[in-house]
Structures are given as C-alpha cells and as structure tokens.
Symmetry: C4
Amino acid sequence: MTQPILNALGQPPRPAHVRIPGDIATCADYERHAVHHVEAGAWRHIQGGCDQGATLAHNRAAFDRLQLLPRPFADLRGGHTRLRMLGQAFEHPLLAAPVAYQCLVHPEGELASVRAAMALQAGYVASTLSSYTLEEIAVAAREAARELVRGAPLWFQLYSQPAREHTLALVRRAEAAGYQAIVWTVDAAVKRAGMALPPGVLAANLRGYPVRRHTSQAGQGAIILGTPLADAAPSLAELDWLRAGTSLPLIVKGLLDPVQAAEAVARGADAIVVSNHGGRVMDGVPSPLDVLPAVRAAVPEAPILLDSGIRWGTDVAKALALGADAVLIGRPLLHALAVGGMAGAAHLLHLLRAELELVLAQLGCPNLGQLAPTSVWRVQKD
Amino acid sequence: MTQPILNALGQPPRPAHVRIPGDIATCADYERHAVHHVEAGAWRHIQGGCDQGATLAHNRAAFDRLQLLPRPFADLRGGHTRLRMLGQAFEHPLLAAPVAYQCLVHPEGELASVRAAMALQAGYVASTLSSYTLEEIAVAAREAARELVRGAPLWFQLYSQPAREHTLALVRRAEAAGYQAIVWTVDAAVKRAGMALPPGVLAANLRGYPVRRHTSQAGQGAIILGTPLADAAPSLAELDWLRAGTSLPLIVKGLLDPVQAAEAVARGADAIVVSNHGGRVMDGVPSPLDVLPAVRAAVPEAPILLDSGIRWGTDVAKALALGADAVLIGRPLLHALAVGGMAGAAHLLHLLRAELELVLAQLGCPNLGQLAPTSVWRVQKD
Amino acid sequence: MTQPILNALGQPPRPAHVRIPGDIATCADYERHAVHHVEAGAWRHIQGGCDQGATLAHNRAAFDRLQLLPRPFADLRGGHTRLRMLGQAFEHPLLAAPVAYQCLVHPEGELASVRAAMALQAGYVASTLSSYTLEEIAVAAREAARELVRGAPLWFQLYSQPAREHTLALVRRAEAAGYQAIVWTVDAAVKRAGMALPPGVLAANLRGYPVRRHTSQAGQGAIILGTPLADAAPSLAELDWLRAGTSLPLIVKGLLDPVQAAEAVARGADAIVVSNHGGRVMDGVPSPLDVLPAVRAAVPEAPILLDSGIRWGTDVAKALALGADAVLIGRPLLHALAVGGMAGAAHLLHLLRAELELVLAQLGCPNLGQLAPTSVWRVQKD
Amino acid sequence: MTQPILNALGQPPRPAHVRIPGDIATCADYERHAVHHVEAGAWRHIQGGCDQGATLAHNRAAFDRLQLLPRPFADLRGGHTRLRMLGQAFEHPLLAAPVAYQCLVHPEGELASVRAAMALQAGYVASTLSSYTLEEIAVAAREAARELVRGAPLWFQLYSQPAREHTLALVRRAEAAGYQAIVWTVDAAVKRAGMALPPGVLAANLRGYPVRRHTSQAGQGAIILGTPLADAAPSLAELDWLRAGTSLPLIVKGLLDPVQAAEAVARGADAIVVSNHGGRVMDGVPSPLDVLPAVRAAVPEAPILLDSGIRWGTDVAKALALGADAVLIGRPLLHALAVGGMAGAAHLLHLLRAELELVLAQLGCPNLGQLAPTSVWRVQKD
C-alpha cells in the first residue's frame, strides 16, 4: 500500500488556484497559503534551514534590525526603478532566484516561473537542477516575451560537475540556448544530503551525466576532508578555467567574505551574488545583508546581487541602500508558484515591485541611484 | 442577507458605556475594554500597523528602552504643567491627535472627542478626514469651552488635495471657523489603500471635492513612481505655497529626518510634529522618540510635538525630556471614545495627565521646563 | 452575602505550614508555594509592580545580565561573612526589609519575621506601616534574642507624617524602644493609591495619628503638582531637620541618583539604601544594581545598602561586588512567612546565607571584603 | 510498595536500542530520543543546571551569538583533522568528557562509552566518579583498541579526596592502569548536594575510601565558610603537591579566570580545561567560550581544552577558532549512550566529527591549524 500524499498540515495537497485568492497582498500571505498546496516533505525541504535554523532566522533578523528614514519632501517626478547590469537592461532590481526542482510545487515548474518573470520583466536565473531542461526554459521565456512584448535577461546557474567536460557542456548548452550570463554557485559543493526527490521530479539538465554525491550522508560514515568530495570543491583554479571557457558574463554566487569577493573579481568574475544559500548549507553563517557593506567596500565597481531573506519591499530597499544592485527572490516565488502557478508567481513579483516603489517614494528616492546608506537609520541602543 | 456587525471577538459590538467601568485606571485598560465596542474591521484598522507591524512595535520599544531617574529631594512647591507654544497657552502638554473617522468607534465621533479635550483643557487637532465637518467640530468645541469655562487651542490637520484650490479652500474654512493653526501632514501621500468605510462614515470635510486615490491598491497593478500620485507628493515648493497662503501658524506633521525638519523650519514652518503616522504608512521606520534628540538638535528653537506610541505618563516625560514640547494622543483616545464616548475620552486625558504629574513629582521636576535629558538613565549593557 | 476569601488560584488560602515543605530549597520555591497561602488581592499587591511592571522585570534583569567569575584556587581558610556598619556588628549582609502590613500573609506578621531575623542573626528593619507596633516588634526581637542567645541590629523605617510632630513622635518612640537606626524612606511620598486593607490589618504605629492621603486616586480627578501632597514631599530641609532631631544613625532609603546620594551624605546621612521601592512606585526606573557603581563612586565612604530583586546568593554577591555593603530582603521574606511563619522566614534567611557562602567560596573570597568589581565578568556582545 | 521506575515523560524507561533509530542525524535528535530511555530523576540530574539554569542557557547562547564566515575557494586537498597535544596524537579534537555515573543511563556505562571512543578514535577521560573502576575502563579501552585496530589516548579525571593519601592512591592506580594524563577538576569542591544515586550505581573507584560530604545540604543548616569543607578546597599548594607527585601530564580542569589559568601553567600544569562544569556548580558564571580568548591570550603555549555546551560541528569550530585545541563532549554522549549504548555513543562521535569536517570545508580550512579568529564573524549591531 502506498503512502497517501499529504501536505504539511496532514491534508491532501490542494492544486494551484486558477484565480489568485483575494486575501493575498504580501509575500507572507503567499507563504501562509502555500502550506496547503505543497507535499509535506517538499514543504519541509523548501522551508527548512540546516541544523538549528540559525542562519535562516538571522537572514530575516538582519533586515528587521535596520530601519529606513522617510524623507517626504523629495521631488519624485519622473521616477522609475530601471537599472543596467553587465550591459543588460532591467526594469527593476528583482530577479527570480535559481531555485531547484520547481516541479516539487507545481507541475509546470520552471516553465511557469520563467513566463511569470518575463511577464513582469524580472530577470530569471535557471538552475542547473531545474526540473525542465535549460533549453525548454529558454523556449518558454522567449515565447512569453514575444506574446507579451515584454521580457528580461535570462541567466543560467551552474553547478560544477564531477568532470570538467560536463561542466563545460552545460555552459555551451546555456550559450546555445541564448542565456546571457553564467551564475556559478560555489558555496554548496560540500554539504549535507538533501531530500529524496519524489517520482517524476528530476534534474532534467543532468540526464545522462554522471552524478557526484554532493553531500555527506549523515550517520553513514562518510568523512569529508581528504576525500575526493572536498578535494574537488570549487577553487580559484577552476574559476580561472571557467572564466577562460566562456565569453558570457560570469557571476560568482555564494560569497560572503569580502576578501574572496575581491579576489573573484580580480580574476575576472563580472559580478558577485552575496548569499548564504538561503541558510541551507551551514548554520551560524552571517546574513548576506550583514556582510554587504564590507563586500561593497571590497568590490567597489562590479555589480553585487544579494539573496536570502527578502520578503518585503523594504528589504529590497535596505539591500540596495547598503550596496547591492539587485536581489534574487527564492522561496517567495516558490510559494506563489505553489498557490497560483504562473499567475501566482507573476502576482508576487508585482506585489514586491509595487512595495519597492512605495518605499522609494517614502524615502524620497525617485530612482535606485538615490538609495544610499544614509537612507538607513541605526538606532542607538546605549 | 447582510453580514451581521461583529466586533473583533465575534460578538455584537457593545454600545459605549454611560458610566466609565470601575476597573479602568490606565490607557491599557481602555484598550482592553475597547475591543468589545468596536466592529472587527474598524478594530483591525485602528490597531494595525503596516506589513509586519515592526514600526508599531518599535514605537513602543523605544519608550520601554529608556529609564527615568527619580530625584526625591527636589522642591516641588508651586509646580504645574503649563506651557506656551506658538503664542498659545496650554494647561498641559497633551493634545488630541488628528485621528480620522472617529465615528467608526462612536456615533458622536469628533464632537465627543473635542468636547472631552476642551473639558480637560487639552489642545485638539481636527483631521481633514473627520466624520463631522471642521465647522461642526469648532462649534462643539466653542460650546463645550463656554459651558465648562475651560478650553484649549483648536488646530486643523490638513491633507493636500488633488487640486490646490481645494487645499486652499480647506485652509480658508479652518481660518473662518476659528482654528488657530494648520497642521500639514506630509508623510502619507503615497501609501497602501486603507479600509473601506462602512455606510454612514465619510470624510465630511471633503463632500463635493474631487478625491485622489491616495494609495496603491495592492495586487491591482498600480505602480507608483512616474505616476501622477508620486509626482504630486508634498514638496518644498508646496510648503512655500502653503506658507504664503495663510497667516495661521503652520505645523509640518510627519517628519523624522532632522535635515528635513530644519529645512521646513528654515522655509517658515512654525513647528514640527515628529511622527511615523502611528506605524501605518511604512514598516521598519524609526520611532519618533529615537530620532527626537537629533531633530531637536537640528531645530533648536521651534516647538516640536511628537506622536506614535504614547500610552503612559512616563512616555510623555521621556518625550519631553528628550526635546519635545508636547505630545499627541491618538489610538488611546479612540479606545476611550469607543468605551465611554465623551466621558471616556475626558477620563483618559485625565488619567494621562495625572500620571504625568506623578512622574514629574518623582523626577523632581516642578514644571515641564525642568525635564531634561539628564532625567533619562541609559543602562550600560556592556 | 460576603465574598469568600480566596487565594490567587481561586482556592481558600492555606494556613501556614507547621513544618517547612520538603521540596523547598530556594527563594523561588517559597514563591511557588506562597501563592497557595495568600489571599488573591494581597497576592496581587505583594507581587505587583506599577504600570507595565517594567521596573520589576528590570530589577531581575539587571542581576541576570551580570556574571561572576569563579576562582577555585583561593585560600578560603578562616572565611566568614561578618561585617560592621554604623558601628554595629552583623554576622552576614542580609537584612529583613521594612515590608508593610505583614499580617496580610500571616497572623503573626512582623512578630514572626523579627523572631526569624534574630534567630538567623539578620538585621531587621521595622516598617512605619507595620501591622504590629514598633514597641511590640522590639519586645519580640529582644525575647527572641535572649532565648536564642543570638540577635542582630534592629532598625526603624520612617515615613514622614503630615505633621512634623508626628514624624518626630515616631522617631522618639523608636529611640525609646531601642531601635538602633532610623531608615527614612523618601521615594514614595507621591504615588498611586495602594490596595484597600482587609479588616484587622492596619498601620498599628499610626493609630490616632492624622493620615495623609499618600496617593492620587486614579480616575478621581486629583492632580498632583501644586497640591499640598507634592508641596510636602521630602526635601533637603526636612533631611536637615530630621538629622538634627535624633542622635541615632540616619539612613536615607530610596535614592538612585548618585548626586542626591552624595548630597544626603554631605548633609549628615550616615548611610544610603539604593532602592526603587521594589518597582512599586514608578515604572521604567533604573534598577538599583545598575546605578550602584555610580552611587558607590559618589559616596565612597558611607555604607550603601541595596534592595529590589534579590532572589539568589549570586545576587547578593553581585551587589556587594559592585559596592553595596549589605542587602535588604523583601518579597522573599513575605513568601516564606506566608508558607511557614517564623520557621519559614528563618529557613529562607538560612538558604540565602548558605547560597551566599557557596558563591563566596566559588569566587575565591573568604570574606566580604574580597568581593570586588573584578569578580564580575561582563560579556563582550560585539 | 516500591515506586515504579519512570522516565521524565512518566512512562517506563525504554531500554537502549539495538539499532540506532533512523531519524537520528544530530546531537539534538539523540537528546530528543534520550528522554524516553532515562529514569526521571536521573534525567533531571543530567539535564539540569543549578539555580535558574542561567549558566546552562548562556553556554549555548555564547555559541549561538557567533557566526562563521565561509570561504569557498580554499584549496582543501589533503585535508585532515589530526592534532597533537601533550605529545599524544589525536585523529580529531573531540574527547569524551569525564561524566560521572554513566550507569545511570545504560548498564554498560563507561565500558560502553570508552569502547565507542576508541572505535571512533576519540580521546577518553574517565571520571573519578565512574560507575566502573578505572581499571575496568582501561581494560575495556585496550580490548576495543586491539579488536578495532584503532584507539586514542586515555586520561583520568581526578577529584581530590578528603585525605591526600587517597588522592595519591587514585593517581597511582591511574598510572598503573596506563592512563596517559591526570585531569584534575578544581571547580566543584564546594557546591550544592547532587542527586541520590539509585541502587546499584556507585562511585566504583572510591569503594573503601572515606567520603567527604562534597556539598552543603540546602535547608539543613550547613554554612560553608570557615568549615573544613571550604578550608580544604583545591589550592595552589595542592597543585604543587600533585605536580610533584606524578610524572604524567597534569591538566587542570575547571578554570575560567585567565589569571588563574596562567598561574596554573606557571606552576607546572601541562594544559587547561576551560569549563564551568556544564553549568552545574554555580549559576550566572561566564561561558567557557566567552572567556576563551582571554584565557588563550594568558596561556599562549599550553594546550587548552573546552567543554560546556557543544552540540554541533560549528560549535567545535568556533571553540577552536577562538583558541581551544580540543573539546570535551559530555551530555550529548550520555544521551547517545542512553539511546543506543556503545553503538549510539560511537554514532554520536561520528556525527559530530562529520559535522566538523563539513564546517572546516565550508570555512576553507583543510586542517585545524587553519582555524583562526578570522573565521569568526561578529555582527555589528549598532
């Protein structure tokens, strides 16, 4: 007898809504709804952080600790949220993060989320571990952009494969499919095992590639240091090799140390994603927002993106005020996808953008260039 | 079938008490009672802050973080709480805040609260969004003052209207009705939509005026920057125009940035209300109390009022010790109005004043001029 | 029909135990038991602090924030806890605080607590508001000291009376009854009304004296400043008068401000009790422990006692390490009195003293003179 | 009728599992399971800290307050966790702490835990208060090491006995049995009474030795200072005597004060265990992690071990980054022993080691020597 599929509340998961529920106005509302739509194990996987969840909690606390200082009298005329990064134009600084296996929450998975991103003119980063192939995702993006006469840059997130030939094959496929940048994730090579995927969900891009056991199986005797797993972790040598291997912009994702960020840029990285992988890899790690000012100081020129913990428009403003150029939206997009498929994901991006614009208006910033550390107020708690 | 009207506890709302319940001795007691008297949606609207409620919580935390240092041996003889602001005399530093739509909690709304204020000699600020007209409120104030042989200054809170002619019309009406100052609110021009008003509650002052949609409707596609909404937000130019347009004292309400406060005064504002609109406009905003010392340093001469979070006499003393001249009482007045109508509101003002006097006596301050930053003790938490 | 008498748990109050319950080993255990023994209104009165209870909570937090650094290798031979204050000898630094109306929790009230104090060689401070007269208490103390061949100093706590002649009468009675010091409380002249006393409990010392209404009755219109109540609050002139009026040591109780402490000593006070009246008079007041180092610096020579919040032997050590000479035990003594009468109060004093000695041994301090600020460790929370 | 034996959940304690439950992946999982296996009184004894449990809570908080900064690009090739201390080789820096009376949780007690330690190549410290004799433990260790062709150093933890001859007898027995170091505990000579041992559990090493009452019995009148108990507490003279009395390395366990640590080393101690005895001796004591940097600065050369609060691999890394050479695992080992006997204890040590290696890889440290204060990130909370 097979286990019945249940959500985290012990009920059969609800299918995605055809229409967005009327009581949804924020990311938090989508999260509240999403628990009804996602199978229990997938929900725990999506929501969880490692160990005690301290990094996860800290990612939020770092935002909550900061305050923004309104300035009502500013001249807002002609305001907008546009920016350029890596020579590419963005309508606003919200990008869809490279969340793996999006079919865990909705059958259309990445096809739905990329259409939503294009509809809302949000940059989209497709994961190596997508449940559709990067080629399928690119086609969906192009179709949506054409239909809607809108669109936004499409990037490919790369995990190094056990053999360099397969890593390079992924890069070549991304180039061929029209992706406009490679986002190389370097912070998750050595980590605990993740969840077992349910039937029908798989890493579509890696079909036929050899699989490296990415993680130590807790309790099964693997020790890390001195094994091939640790020995093959991302290195500066691999950065050099990858840099030489593609003419696409190369973005390094998963750095927190200002020194390493500067080193990556010095060796040719075009941008950095300051991230702790959403608190999923190691516990007790600094939040991206906390290290951001130091990273920005160490990398004064290159674009910096940030992820991990963004749930409100004020969070986006805080990240940009402290030095980020743009942010990646991860879990909230998955929640919205679970609740409303493509429409949900698009609605979520709209909500966040509208919140960001309200905040910019409150802060007296008619455009992103006006956001600066002076918008952040630090309470003196002496 | 119409929805039955229920309070936030799911019961039919109780009417206001004829007599004040005997177990009420503080603002907190009125709040505890008020939940029984107010319809659920109105209650959520009154009590709520935006987003996560961080600003709301922080407004209280800022008071709770400070301590006051008693000085028992002071000579208190001849003590009092009188002050002068803008050439006007006040018996004590408590003013009724310009809370909108007071008929949401009591059918006599602003007529009851203004009578209570006059009876307790508390300054009263009538809102542009009053449920009675400013003229009706002024009449009620005058009658109460005459009957009781008491009274206090009456001010008018102004929201800019879509067309300057209507903004100016409101000013002229306030002048004609005998209001003694214009309190121009500048921090709420761009914000989320509020609640829908129930039948019979309306902005009485604005009957026949065109209405600007003040807010983005979450989830309905409005983007802010570059739209007429943002372009028409309060500006220094509008401040100059307003300053030139009335000979009444002009008070700017809703500033937190010390630089903007100084700028407003330099351009002719007569006083400042340091406020974050009770945490209703943007989340993660500094509490007025936290910015107060910096605002006072930037505006050494002009009167400074403060609102947002005052619930105890100690809070009033803390605000005055750190540089405020007077404070505005908002939500607590609404709670008392809901519980006991005019009598409740008057009782609440009495309670707060009595608490303030006890605190002054404990601090060894026979009058408000003796309150100083040295009354505040800052714990060394090293 | 009269109200049945119930404790705070809604049950008939239990009488005091004849034998101490076997599961009592700390102050916290006595508190846990005491709730069963005390009538509900009296319990709320004893346990409560004013307003939000912030001062009450802060009194504990101040102790909990500090840490003590053990030093195992010290030579403890010949250790003891003796001290001298005001020319008087104490076996240990624990004194019974002048808690009012002790018959609220046990019919023998102050007679039981003073016998317990003498048995445990703890100094005892009798309250002006005792439920037995100061003469009765002195007799009980003398009898107990004689029977047990033990004893400790007996002091009298003085509240100023509406007329100086009655204040002086209390001093003369205390002198005549053999009290060895006057502890003049100066921090509670202006405060909210307290509880109504149940039948049979009264201020035995004040029978026949005129009563000043000590407090504003919340909600009944009294305003403080400019009234006789505030005008007659303790003053430096009254200190001078009192100093001149008795040859007993004069201790001023209820100062937190270092400047006022120094001023009192300069005018002839022999010692200071740093206290916020157990959080009962004003909320948001510094904890005595937090101001203690500054008071000690301002009063380098005179004895300093401290009360408010002591529940553990570590608390006593912290207070002494930061500059106090001795401490007063208030609520815990009442809890023990409620649970076990004289035996309970004695047991409690024994427990606290034993805890203190364990702590001294751990800290490597063979006597009280070895306690110093270097015993306190301050965590660097950067 | 005898009391039935029940665990802390009021159920008959479960025997240890033959196989490790499949849902155990961390120390926290073992703790969650262990409550089912341990008798209620023993559970309270194992889990508890003294007084309010502040030290216990602080031991964890000190770890949780720190963050570790990942550095993905490091070259990890040839990594390992080996170290040398006192001329002895360790595969990794995890040692089994000298937990008393391990038969309280499993009938094989120390015999099971020492076998587990040898199997996992973890150093083992046998307690004076073992439920098997130090000779039996040494035999079990040797057998396990021979069978498994593995092993690790074996140390003996020493409590001073009432008479020096018995203290010395324990040292001689440890030498004879092949123990490689003496770990002299100096922080628990004067403390409250512990639990009563159940039938069949005893201090096997001390059979026939006179017993000193180690503690004050709360509530039974014992006062500490000036009694033989306090007078005989560990002293520098005893350190000199012990140092002269054995050629084994001498490690002093239970110091927090940097000055005393330096003093002990200057008098011949070979290493220090920074510890607050797991929060069991005094409340409100600094956590070992908080004092560690100062102790390391005061003792720049000698090995420093640390215990109290380690539950995750990140904790080990934090301790080593701030100056410790190795750590002792106490309560977690007991939890695992209760759940799975020798297999559980071995599994636990494996889990912690695997976690540590994951963390080292994340931090870019191929070996322990690379851990440094720069791996620790301190959030600026201004």
